[in-house]
């Protein structure tokens, strides 16, 4: 059984505390891989970001993240895995998302963490908009993200 944790929150989180919690629930873990995504300081045109807004679909968001984590637990031998994702308005440089995977073997921790990130980007109902001095603009999805998620389909 893989322990799973999903949190959606407006509040800032601390990656170090999350990793400590993840590890404290394990018995045979030899390694933890984490990914932390941060609000960029500038938008894709190089204009300083004032803030980033994360909208989501309450109810469906939690459900889809749990589904992604269950998929990861089916594919890899991982002892504990967790996702924390923020919603609402975030300032530049704040962490947006954290994924941590704890496993006996590092290859499984790496693969499952990357898999969860790739699916979060394309399968979990979140939408970002950026605010700069030029106004507020919804972010388009990236083809590269879809391609990265598709990689896992055949493995």
């Amino acid at each position: 059984m893989t322990a799973m944790m999903v949190r959606l929150q407006e509040e800032l989180f601390d990656p170090g505390s999350l990793q400590f919690t993840l590890f404290s629930e394990t018995r045979k873990t030899g390694g933890i891989v984490t990914f932390t995504g941060y609000v960029r300081a500038i938008d894709s045109n190089g204009i300083p970001l004032k803030s980033l807004f994360l909208e989501h679909y309450p109810g469906m968001t939690e459900k889809s993240i749990k589904h992604i984590l269950s998929d990861a637990a089916d594919r890899w031998d991982i002892e504990s895995i967790g996702v924390v994702h923020r919603v609402g308005w975030l300032p530049p440089k704040d962490p947006i998302v954290w994924v941590g995977s704890a496993a006996a073997h590092r290859s499984e921790a790496f693969a499952s963490c990357e898999f969860v990130m790739d699916y979060l980007k394309t399968q979990a109902p979140f939408w970002k908009k950026e605010e700069t001095e030029e106004g507020v603009k919804w972010i388009d999805s990236h083809h590269s993200d879809e391609a990265r998620a598709a990689r896992w389909a055949t493995s």
Partner: protein, 84 residues
Amino acid sequence: MIKIFFFGRLRDTISSDSIILEEVADLDSVEKIRMYLSESRGSIWEEALNQSNIVISVNQVVVSTDAVVCDGDEVAFFPPMTGG
């Protein structure tokens, strides 16, 4: 009754975050709901709901446009996700 939600850029475009359809006898698929809203709500809705990359969910699960919809279901239309 069918409850319909809109998110992200799509919601801004049509200026609506949710609507409730009370008369749903003929609206037994996602495609029929899309056609109904496109025809009854004007060209802005029509264009927004017929974008090629639109994502549709029924009861919070992503579906294809031929998915069945029943009385009491929750349907949502939204742009491709951009989280993480």
